[in-house]
């Protein structure tokens, strides 16, 4: 019944919008341009516009961009999402960095039937229990990035691991993804600590615990300022030599690896994108992004880039209004900088390979050496139930 109403709603909105071919697709960018994730928002937006410059001409239509700042505050973001949907009457939205913001706008987006391309937020539930046919994720899910590392580290001969992460949903999902496959492979988690999120500046007490635990290696997830503090402090205690540091690749993201400096050398992490990937699509992306910003693209930039690319692909397939865009986005697949990407239409989450990389000293500072490409796997449905693609 609910679905029928939603379908009717979708139909009504698509009828309300005049279907003139020459009319541009109106895109609402919902990103943090201030607050703690401002750097991420800027990177995603830069990636988004690079992709539109590169592929926009293939779409068969133009794009009008309306950008709104979420300030990384869920209530603010909800207000901005309402404005984009009701006042600007956008056809599609893209962005959302924080999972908290995604949670806040989810029902609004779902109820209004406006397709949303998630360009960062990795909360497992967004493509699990609270999945929506209107929400397509072009970034990653927390579990997805870490799951392949369990088997890989076991294969490297590592048997006992100590894990550390900030105490919030993403930290627990990232570590959970790794710990699940690592113990399934036969490894042992000898200790786990979840540090107070954004309140921990001194990791000394936890590092001493990890050292005393008798583990072979430490596996962590930290991002942003916490990642920088953590990597530097790990090195300053001299742990790197005896207790190698592994983790989720956000730890040594190109966005802040230079602030970590030599302390990051030798850290091995897994991520869905690093700028040193050797393929033609990535070479073109890196060159275009560097020309625009003067920086190497981070994984956040590639989220924005691929989000825009997905939108172009959907438009290429003939989608112009909210309902048809939502449907087309669920069937998108292309070869991008990250390799072969597709959307799993059972959960609307991206399916992509995960790369294990080591941070090494290169000519112009620290760079990423790819050690292994782990094959793409679709996330389990995690309680996601939604209508199949309708056309």
């Amino acid at each position: 019944m609910k679905r029928a109403i939603l379908a009717a709603l979708g139909l009504a909105t698509s009828l309300a919008v005049p279907a003139a071919a020459e009319e541009n697709i109106k895109v609402g960018l919902l990103l943090p341009f201030s607050g703690v994730y401002a750097a991420l928002g800027n990177d995603i937006e830069a990636g988004f516009s690079v992709a539109l410059e590169q592929f926009g001409s293939e779409a068969g239509t133009g794009f009008d961009i309306v950008r709104e700042d979420t300030e990384v505050k869920p209530p603010v973001a909800l207000g901005k999402a309402k404005k984009l949907i009701l006042q600007d009457k956008v056809d599609v939205m893209a962005g959302v960095v924080s999972s908290g913001v995604l949670g806040a706008v989810r029902d609004m987006v779902h109820g209004a039937g406006v397709p949303l391309i998630v360009a960062n937020a990795g909360n497992d539930e967004a493509t699990g229990t609270s999945c929506s046919p209107y929400i397509t994720r072009m970034s990653f899910s927390n579990g997805q990035v870490n799951r392949p590392m369990g088997q890989w580290m076991y294969d490297q001969g590592i048997r006992k691991v100590y894990t550390l992460a900030p105490d919030y949903a993403a930290g627990r999902q990232m570590i959970g993804g790794f710990a699940g496959t690592f113990t399934a492979a036969g490894g042992e988690i000898v200790g786990q600590d979840f540090t107070p999120f954004q309140k921990t500046q001194d990791f000394g007490p936890y590092l001493a615990q990890a050292k005393a635990s008798g583990a072979d290696a430490v596996y962590v997830f930290y991002a942003g300022g916490e990642a920088i503090s953590f990597v530097k402090q790990y090195d300053s205690f001299g742990l790197k030599a005896d207790l190698p540091l592994y983790g989720s690749g956000f730890l040594t993201s190109p966005l802040y690896v230079n602030a970590e400096g030599p302390a990051a050398e030798g850290v091995i992490t897994a991520l869905h994108y690093v700028p040193t990937l050797d393929n033609a699509a990535n070479a073109a992306f890196v060159a275009a992004f560097e020309a625009k910003t003067g920086r190497l693209p981070s994984e956040f930039a590639v989220h924005g880039y691929d989000a825009a690319r997905a939108l172009v692909e959907a438009a290429k397939a003939g989608a112009r209004d909210r309902a048809s865009l939502a449907d087309a986005l669920r069937q998108v697949s292309f070869d991008g900088p990250r390799g072969k990407l597709s959307i799993d239409s059972a959960t609307n989450n991206i399916v992509q390979p995960v790369y294990v990389y080591e941070t090494v000293a290169g000519e112009g500072g620290l760079t990423q050496k790819v050690l292994a490409e782990l094959p793409a796997e679709a996330d389990p449905a995690n309680g996601c139930e939604m209508a199949p693609v309708s056309n």
């Binding site: 401002a38 105490d167 200790g191 001194d202 007490p205 300022g225 530097k232 300053s236 001299g238 602030a259």
Partner: protein, 289 residues
């Protein structure tokens, strides 16, 4: 988990290091508060500013240039704040002061973002204190020992100035009863100005020494503000003894809490704060009896 003596020594040093960092911040704030009943919530922003100045100066002339010049620069900002805002706010009551300095936090936050950008910065540990030192049977990062040493040295210097010199006596008199002190011919207003500048410089210094250890981000000042306020409330307003005791209590509870009861780590210190407020609302070592 069985731990040897070395483990506990290591954790004690960790606790001490955190305490000293907080001491550098809280002493300035507590004396300003005690002397003039002025609530300067922007104190944490000065700490962030110190770290940013240090990061910029370190890029030009190495760590030590930042170490010596950044606190001076922060004191300069303090003078601007004082003459532009704080002097006018002196008589306007605590509510207005809290609002103005709270607003200042956000102004400074955005100013650092405009000048230095959103990406986190970092400074390297000076070569003199790179590496680790053998101590009591464990290896400990030399730079952390330097922070402990610096904190103790500043404490000793302040204890001497406040306890043994004339200006110290004047400050103590001002904290005790400012009206009576000015009747006795002490220029309390000028005294406050000096104390305010020194407090700002110390906040800047804390930012400088914290920068190589942590990362320099716009919101670092906000993150440190709450711990600093807790230190002051536990220790008692306006006194050196309160600031050092509060810092040590915070450092040890936080560190050993994280080791012994990780699930409670973030709650423990607030529980202690609540206990102090119930049992001894003025703090453990208040300046006024």
């Amino acid at each position: 988990m069985a731990h040897d003596l070395g483990f506990w020594t290591l954790q004690a040093l960790n606790a001490l290091q955190l305490s000293m960092l907080l001491f550098l911040l809280s002493i300035g704030l507590t004396v300003i508060f005690g002397l003039m009943h002025f609530v300067n919530l922007a104190h944490g922003s000065l700490y962030a500013l110190g770290a940013y100045f240090a990061a910029s100066l370190a890029a030009i002339g190495g760590y030590w240039m930042g170490f010596f010049l950044a606190p001076v620069a922060v004191a300069g900002v303090g003078i601007l704040l004082y003459s532009g805002l704080i002097r006018r706010m002196r008589k306007s009551g605590p509510m207005a002061q809290v609002l103005v300095t709270f607003g200042l936090i956000f102004v400074m936050l955005d100013l650092t973002r405009i000048f230095w950008g959103d990406l986190a910065l970092a400074i390297d540990v000076p070569t003199l204190f790179a590496g680790r030192v053998e101590l009591l049977g464990i290896e400990y990062p030399a730079y952390r020992l330097f922070i402990i040493g610096l904190g103790l040295a500043i404490f000793a210097a302040l204890a001497f100035v406040l306890g043994r010199t004339q200006i110290g006596a004047m400050i103590r008199a001002g904290v005790d009863n400012d009206a009576m002190a000015s009747c006795l011919g002490i220029n309390v207003e000028r005294l406050f100005f000096i104390v305010f500048c020194v407090g700002c410089a110390l906040a800047g210094l804390a930012g400088v020494v914290a920068a190589p250890l942590l990362s320099v981000t716009p919101d670092m000042g906000l993150q440190i503000l709450i711990p600093t306020l807790i230190v002051i409330v536990i220790g008692g307003l306006g006194s050196l003894k309160g600031a050092i005791a509060g810092s040590l209590i915070y450092g040890f509870v936080q560190t050993f809490g994280a080791v012994l009861a990780p699930q409670l780590a973030s709650v423990l210190i607030y529980a202690l704060l609540a206990a102090v407020l119930v049992i001894k609302p003025v703090g453990l070592f208040p300046a006024k009896g």
